[in-house]
């Protein structure tokens, strides 16, 4: 099985920690935000921007870049944090979260911030857009990859299954979707709100190559992502099993932290939680 070197893994864990700190920084500025799904997808986004993707922060519209479509637009805090960490914009912008006219709204706007590829927020749009990108790139004989991050509650939207069929029909093997499968949505466990199981079999039935990983294990995420397409001539999907609110002791696995109205006390605990991770990484 693929394993990152100790050095690579350590560097990526530091990056993931920095991203979590930046998420907290925005929450502090805006006094709240969609924290649960942002925290659960930190390792996926870290793997993408700091290992898997060909991108250039100095030339965000570089034609041959790999694309990242954040279909679950409410997870935007993790995207903003990663883009800032990567150097797409000055990180002081992170302190404007929640301000009038901020370049980092509660759902991303590609016309406000370099590096953002799509305007998402309404669920079930990203996969179709990504499919169009992959199809256009293919027609231009470019081999750029198109990565998509979806929430597991999001896949209840029927429009995703139109897109799933079309991506498979057109043989879009440059697409890799991550489902941040934290098993929770606003109203409760996904299995109770609207059961989507058997998830693996559903995607397989649509012709996709499917793998399952620990969504917080960077070696597993990267090792598998490097092997696309999982099925010749077909799109690929990774079901990344994760913990909603990962990294915040009071929020992990709790349904109430989809959106977090942060109290000063909780913010203090959150800081201590991340400081603890930092001490462990420093050791």
């Amino acid at each position: 099985m693929y394993r990152l070197s100790t050095k690579e893994e350590s560097q990526l864990k530091w990056t993931a920690l920095n991203i979590r700190k930046k998420i907290l920084r925005m929450i502090r500025a805006g006094k709240g935000g969609h924290v649960g799904g942002a925290m659960s997808s930190v390792e996926i986004v870290t793997a993408l921007y700091f290992n898997l993707m060909n991108s250039d922060p100095q030339n965000p519209q570089w034609r041959e870049r790999d694309r990242f479509v954040l279909s679950a637009g409410h997870k935007c805090l993790v995207l903003y944090a990663a883009l800032a960490e990567k150097g797409y914009f000055d990180e002081s912008i992170l302190d404007t979260y929640g301000d009038l006219g901020s370049k980092i709204p509660g759902h991303p706007d590609m016309h406000k911030l370099p590096g953002v590829e799509t305007n998402t927020g309404a669920l079930g749009h990203g996969l179709s857009i990504a499919g169009g990108m992959a199809l256009g790139l293919k027609m231009d004989h470019l081999d750029s990859k198109v990565y998509v991050l979806m929430g597991d509650g999001e896949i209840e939207e029927g429009s995703n299954w139109e897109a799933a069929a079309a991506c498979s029909h057109y043989g879009l093997d440059t697409i890799l979707v991550f489902i941040d499968r934290n098993f929770l949505q606003i109203s409760g466990p996904t299995s109770e709100v609207m059961n989507y199981e058997p998830l693996k079999e559903r995607w397989e039935a649509f012709g996709w190559g499917v793998r399952e990983v620990d969504g917080h294990n960077l070696s597993e995420i990267i090792g598998n992502a490097k092997e696309i397409p999982f099925k010749e001539g077909r799109p690929s999907i990774i079901l990344a099993n994760s913990v909603k609110g990962k990294g915040l002791s009071f929020a992990e696995g709790k349904v109430g932290y989809h959106f977090w109205n942060a109290t000063p006390e909780e913010l203090e605990i959150a800081k201590e939680d991340l400081d603890l991770v930092e001490r462990e990484l420093t050791r």
Binding site: N119, S128, G131, G132, M139, A166
Partner: protein, 310 residues
């Protein structure tokens, strides 16, 4: 006898012309390219006709994604299935993202006649008007349909193009100037201005001829671009004739008449009438009879105008 042309056939011919000029032009179909007049396009450019089946939400996102790579996608399908059905995809993926997608609704208005309200499109202009920045083209004859398709391919930005399915008289010559946002005065007159759009335009024009027979001099303006609206031409007509009647095959709610009322009420309030389909689920039946039921035949439009100004 005026030559009559099928608007969908004209659309298909125009798309072949623009694809021959610009290799980024592609067409997207939702299991409907034959009925959209794109059979010859598919035969000429099989690799540029992308079929999505009855996938009327996702097709909009695909078009948006294709446009981000520099393609110029024309999404062509039955009007309600590219406007009301995927409204959020139109608004977010095309409007809000400002992608260079051209959405073409065909068989608009009442033109599906016997098939009834699920297939009519009497609110499409209202819906697209509610999305900021999308150009709305409503060409009035086959020559304008061709010119509108060329203009859509040449000008960058999201657009909506509305056509019907009934044979349409050729009114304009090949040298007819067509510019997005510029209305056309087809006939001068001093008693009243009739403003028509799209496939209702020729009936508005015929109504003006009938009015001339009874001594009423009606100006006729063709508004082939509902957004951006030619405010200058409309305000000038309002100042010079003092009364305006709008004619469209659309609900009187939210269409051309509403757009002009929004303008006049602020800039130059004058008496106005709107001819269109009343806001109800329209009847089904033969097309010409439906038009008669809702007062959209030329003699009925003329009578509405006469009663209004006298």
């Amino acid at each position: 006898m005026t030559e009559m042309k099928d608007p969908r056939k004209t659309l298909g011919e125009a798309l072949i012309e623009v694809a021959e000029k610009n290799d980024r032009v592609i067409a997207l179909s939702a299991d409907s390219y034959g009925g959209s007049g794109l059979g010859p396009f598919q035969a000429r450019f099989p690799e540029k006709l992308l079929e999505f089946g009855v996938m009327e939400q996702g097709i909009m996102g695909f078009a948006s994604g294709l446009a981000t790579t520099g393609m110029i996608p024309f999404v062509v399908a039955i009007t309600p299935f590219v406007t009301s059905r995927p409204f959020e995809m139109f608004r977010n993926d095309i409007g809000y993202m400002r992608t260079n997608v051209k959405v073409v609704g065909r068989c608009s208005g009442l033109t599906y006649s016997t098939l009834g309200p699920t297939h009519y499109s009497l609110e499409d202009v209202a819906l697209v008007r509610a999305i900021p920045d999308v150009v709305i083209l409503s060409p009035g004859d086959p020559v304008e349909i061709k010119k509108a398709v060329h203009a859509a391919a040449e000008v960058t930005g999201p657009m909506y193009l509305r056509i019907g399915n009934q044979p349409l008289p050729v009114y304009f010559g090949e040298n007819h100037p067509f510019q997005i946002g510029k209305g056309v005065m087809m006939r001068d007159g001093s008693d009243v201005t009739i403003i028509g759009t799209g496939f209702a335009l020729h009936r508005a024009y015929q109504a003006a001829l009938l009015l001339e027979d009874v001594g009423i001099h009606a100006r006729v303006i063709n508004i082939h671009t509902i957004r951006p609206l030619d405010t200058e031409l409309i305000l000038q007509a309002g100042r010079e004739t003092g009364k305006i009647v709008t004619v469209e095959e659309h609900y009187i709610v939210g269409g051309l008449g509403s757009a002009i009322a929004e303008l006049l009420s602020v800039e130059h309030p004058i008496p106005m009438r709107m001819v269109g389909v009343p806001h109800q689920y329209a009847e089904n039946g033969p097309y010409e009879e439906l038009l008669g039921l809702y007062g959209l035949q030329p003699h009925q439009i003329a009578e509405t105008v006469r009663a209004f100004i006298q």
